[in-house]
């Protein structure tokens, strides 16, 4: 955190000054470790084993916050007797379909709800990254659930959890993660001791956690611990994602993502959502409890914002205009399709996949096979010049005279040359004022897309084709100003907020959304950001002039609420758990919820409220059910649906690992998304043969002085001077083993690429004793590329493409490689070296190991 989010880290240091104990778990000793109380080196890719050990420690010692757990989580809920655990299935839950490599979730449901898992089969959900739309929408839990408040029933969640993690002992943590039992126990003791009525603990992760084939389950394990310890919905608690880009939260909420529409409404699927009603019902689940019951209003209001007068109740608000998913349209599938010549044109908007995405060679080969490419950036980045200066030009794989891609480079406006809002990592929107005009041809994306849309509509003005109606009927009349006719960002923010169609009055919040076409809302969760016609995100009341919650600085979605599910900061009767942790509580005199924050609960629903039989929507949520977006109002220790690779997290080895899974016969996540494409490959792992060809683990991360793929830092002289070259950190032991010299050169080889780096021999890397042998890990920064003031080979070139099944994010925090002294070969000799490694490792490009591990595999690789 000190490396990648230094200014956020001041709050950790503030807590430390007040007595908090800081634990830092990382494969590499960083600037965070240097100021932490304890540093725990860990083998990359084993976090579920570590956190699972903490879960076991809590349950074995009965250290859970029992009153919270009983009232606010599904610990007491009884699960179907058809469910069987990975402990009994050698790494498989019940319901696995080896044909598709996905689960049928029926047997995971609560008892009596076996039929309520939707389609049950998750193959299609994996392809469209739809699993988590259930999670955020609360999976359907109709009617009542059976509970055992004593937590003794063998099939209640509490007991299932206990059995599931029974083998995650301190000894097992040591064996899997390489963390000593003493250090593990110190971590577990401190975490549990700092949780309860009077104290809360926070779990902070950076989004490297998501870049694993089991990334979502990492975060699930953290959430289980935080629920068991009563740390959710309370001040100083929570699971906090430290995201890495100025508005990556905003670009998820208002998604430039293939599977979502604004406000986490799913992009329709051609088979699942043929009609507006079916689409809406898949979100709101008729009869279900919780706030997604109002989904019809949000959906109708979005379409009304898009298509204005053309969108009427009679034509389902132009639902027919929306394009439909048929499967996986994610960025990695797209790149493979580019290589195969299926994609004509590609826009890059402040993103540099030639350096920043996994398998850089695939990225560059894909871009070299387009009709046209539009790059909008501040600087001439690698993704614009791959045809001229890329590594494949050196190897002869891309010949400029034979590369057909037409490239448009359009300079972009910087953050001070335009106005608008960023949403930072805590859901807080902050408006930026414009300081100066952009130079030359540089323009904002707002300008580019507004005028591009204007031109498209002009060119199509006379079209009678049905496919052009969606463009021609689009509301696209934003006011412009200034010499370049810059569209008004405030007008767009007002549309995002939503307005009353008849009067144009900005809505005060999503409670005003209507399903009859009388309201238009661009992103329902942001409704309220322009309440009363005031730009609430522009509020800048000094921290010196308001309380510590600072509710008048910017605006947080939803409803300017700073902590989600904050009803849980009070006990079931509505009183604060303790004076020290007072945050939101029930004021019996006024008969309403009150506190320092906006209560995340219906304001006047008393703690004693019990829903009438058969109630649905918000009415179905009891007065002591704080998790109001969930179908049962409970925090889910066990997820009966929503998470595609299991209702509970299970330790699987990374897709590429030198270690045989010590816990299960199944080696890696059996549901991971794999691509059998000639450009892609996976290094062999046990029990496959030849794993020893790539004996070392490598991991990558950021340096304080650089930013992601380097476009905003390798071009900036003070930053380039501070970190001027690509390097690899290795332990003295590994340097000795391989023959590396400090400040000399090394090259690293995977089944995809070979890259070179300067050698930094340092104790920051610790050889780990894992399952009876020493595992060496090396670390690389992933910022370097071939353009800018400082250049170097790209670490992301080493990775292949294997994805988490829930969110289709690639495993790019851990892989295997070989490390060799000296510089890498150049030209065609470089390709020969990679080919030689592939041959020795038995890699056949386009084929990968079967998803299901069998001990007699390895003789030959199975095709997909």
């Amino acid at each position: 955190m000190a490396e990648a989010h230094p200014v956020g880290f001041q709050w950790v240091m503030e807590a430390k000054r007040r007595g908090a104990k800081v634990f830092h778990v990382d494969p590499r000793f960083t600037r965070t470790s240097a100021v932490a109380d304890e540093y725990l080196p860990i083998r990359a890719g084993t976090d579920i084993a570590l956190l699972g050990g903490v879960v076991r420690y809590i349950l074995d010692n009965e250290l859970d916050f029992r009153e919270y757990v009983l009232s606010y989580t599904n610990a007491a809920t009884i699960v179907s007797e058809e469910f069987s655990d990975t402990e009994d299935g050698d790494g498989f839950f019940s319901g696995f379909d080896p044909e598709t490599g996905t689960y049928v979730q029926d047997s995971w449901q609560y008892e009596g709800h076996e039929d309520s898992s939707g389609s049950g089969h998750t193959a299609q959900e994996r392809d469209s990254a739809a699993g988590l739309t259930h999670e955020s929408h609360g999976a359907p839990v109709g009617g009542q659930t059976r509970r055992d408040e004593t937590l003794q029933h063998p099939r209640c969640v509490y007991q299932i959890l206990k059995r599931h993690f029974a083998r995650y002992t301190p000894e097992m943590v040591e064996r899997v993660c390489g963390i000593s039992q003493a250090q593990f126990l110190e971590l577990a003791r401190a975490w549990t001791a700092n949780s309860g009525r009077d104290r809360t603990g926070m779990l902070i992760y950076s989004v490297g956690w998501t870049q694993h084939s089991v990334g979502v389950q990492y975060i699930r394990t953290g959430a289980i611990i935080q629920l068991l310890l009563g740390n959710m919905g309370r001040p100083g608690g929570g699971v906090m994602a430290l995201r890495g880009h100025a508005s990556i939260q905003g670009s998820t909420d208002i998604p430039t993502l293939f599977n979502l529409l604004p406000g986490y409404l799913p992009m329709p699927h051609h088979a699942e959502h043929p009609s507006f009603d079916e689409w809406v019902d898949s979100i709101r689940h008729p009869g279900q409890k919780g706030f997604w019951g109002n989904a019809r209003s949000f959906a109708a209001s979005l379409l009304k914002a898009y298509w204005g007068d053309a969108a009427t109740p009679e034509n389902d608000f132009c639902y027919g205009y929306l394009p439909r998913l048929t499967g996986d349209h994610g960025t990695y599938q797209q790149v493979l399709n580019m290589i195969d010549g299926k994609i004509k044109g590609y826009f890059l908007l402040g993103q540099n996949p030639a350096v920043g995405s996994a398998h850089g060679r695939a990225q560059r080969l894909g871009m070299a096979n387009l009709d046209w490419l539009v790059v909008r950036d501040l600087f001439m980045i690698e993704s614009a010049t791959f045809w001229q200066n890329g590594p494949e030009v050196a190897t002869g794989e891309i010949v400029p005279e034979e590369c057909r891609t037409e490239v448009f480079f359009l300079p972009a406006a910087s953050h001070v040359e335009k106005e608008g809002t960023f949403t930072q990592t805590q859901r807080l929107l902050q408006w930026r004022e414009k300081a100066v005009e952009p130079p030359g041809d540089a323009r904002s994306e707002l300008w580019f897309f507004y005028h591009l849309g204007r031109k498209l509509r002009e060119k199509l003005a006379d079209s009678t084709l049905p496919r052009d109606r969606a463009l021609l009927d689009l509301t696209w009349d934003y006011p412009t100003h200034g010499p370049h006719a810059e569209p008004s960002a405030e007008a767009v923010l007002r549309e995002i907020n939503g307005y009353d169609v008849a009067t144009g009055r900005p809505l005060s919040g999503f409670a005003e959304a209507r399903a009859d076409g009388s309201t238009a809302i661009g992103c329902w969760i942001y409704s309220g950001v322009y309440a009363d016609g005031v730009n609430q995100a522009a509020r800048r009341k000094s921290r010196h002039e308001q309380d510590w919650v600072a509710a008048e600085w910017g605006w947080a979605w939803p409803a300017n609420r700073r902590i989600l599910y904050n009803r849980a900061s009070a006990d079931p009767d509505g009183n604060p758990w303790s004076e020290r942790k007072r945050y939101v509580w029930w004021d019996a005199e006024k008969a309403e919820w009150t506190g320092y924050d906006v209560p995340d609960f219906e304001k006047t629903k008393p703690p004693s409220y019990r829903p009438p039989v058969g109630a649905s929507g918000p009415e179905g949520i009891a007065g002591d059910d704080p998790f109001v977006m969930q179908g049962d109002g409970k925090g889910w220790l066990y997820a009966p649906s929503g998470v595609l690779d299991g209702p509970l997290p299970t330790h699987y080895e990374p897709v590429e690992s030198p270690v045989r899974n010590p816990l299960y016969g199944q080696q890696a996540n059996p549901t991971r998304k794999m691509y059998a494409h000639p450009v892609n490959s996976v290094n062999p792992s046990p029990p496959q043969e030849h794993a020893q060809v790539f004996p070392y683990v490598f991991t990558v991360s950021r340096l304080t002085e650089h930013h992601t793929a380097g476009a905003m830092s390798r071009t900036v002289s003070p930053l380039a001077e501070l970190q001027p070259e690509m390097f690899v950190e290795v332990s003295p032991a590994l340097a000795g083993e391989v023959g590396l010299t400090h400040l000399g050169w090394a090259h690293l080889v995977s089944g995809r690429a070979v890259i070179e780096a300067k050698v930094l021999v340092t104790d920051r890397l610790t050889p780990l004793r894992v399952d009876g042998r020493i595992i060496h890990q090396v670390w690389l920064p992933y910022h370097f590329g071939f353009e800018g003031l400082v250049t170097g080979d790209s670490a992301n070139d080493l990775f292949g493409i294997s994805l988490d099944p829930n969110v289709l994010i690639q495993e790019s925090k851990v892989g295997t490689c070989d490390v060799r002294p000296g510089r890498r070969p150049t030209g065609p000799a470089l390709l020969d070296l990679v080919a030689d490694y592939q041959r020795r490792a038995g890699i056949v490009p386009g084929q990968h190991a079967p998803a299901v591990t069998t001990d007699n595999e390895g003789k030959e690789h199975g095709a997909s």
Binding site: A4, G244, M267, T326, D377, D441
Partner: protein
């Protein structure tokens, strides 16, 4: 800095008192700055200096463009140019602080490496050419319409609507404003382009 030595030759003319007061060490010993880190070390030259922030024509309240912590920035402008970017002490998030990257924001936005004109590379060409911005916009619009024409899918094999093109892709958004992402998604959706992604998938 030891300024006194420069004045040796003119001692008699200047007067001894003025000469001695010209020594920082004297001011250090007699004044309020015994460590010589403040007033005692000032010269006439440094006394006359003012902060770049003081004579700015305007100040914009902004937010750092790097990571997602969202540190407050104040952007100072003089003669239409960014003259300084500093942390905003009012921010409850950052309390005026910026990291090395945030502190280098002025160097980022004023970098001489910034590309400020449109560049165009023809198919099979070995070099860049210049292009007018409006021409580029027009050419891109034409290419979008051609890609839709070539790859449009009305319905699936069972006649269910698809309304889309898989011939167009886009990547990016995490560094952009919410308002920009909103227009990007809205326009691409209306043109039937599904394959819109950003860093959140990576």
């Amino acid at each position: 800095m030891f300024r006194g030595s420069l004045a040796w030759e003119g001692v008699s003319g200047l007067g001894l008192r003025t000469f001695i007061e010209g020594w920082p060490v004297y001011r250090q010993l007699t004044g309020t700055d015994p460590l010589g880190r403040g007033a005692a070390a000032k010269s006439d030259g440094s006394r006359a200096l003012t902060a770049r922030t003081e004579d700015a024509d305007s100040v914009a309240r902004s937010v750092c463009p790097y990571c997602a912590v969202g540190c407050g920035q104040r952007v100072f402008v003089k003669d239409g140019q960014v003259s300084q970017i500093e942390g905003d002490p009012d921010s409850p998030i950052s309390r005026g602080r910026l990291c090395p990257k945030g502190s280098a924001s002025k160097s980022l936005v004023t970098s001489p490496l910034r590309q400020t004109t449109v560049r165009y590379r023809r198919p099979y060409s070995t070099q860049w050419e210049d292009l007018e911005l409006d021409t580029a916009l027009d050419m891109i619009a034409d290419r979008i319409l051609a890609a839709r024409e070539q790859t449009w899918e009305d319905v699936d094999t069972q006649g269910r609507p698809l309304n889309r093109t898989l011939g167009i892709s886009s990547l990016g958004g995490a560094t952009l404003d919410n308002e920009e992402n909103y227009l990007i998604k809205k326009l691409f959706t209306a043109m039937g382009a599904l394959q819109i992604e950003n860093q959140a998938r990576i």
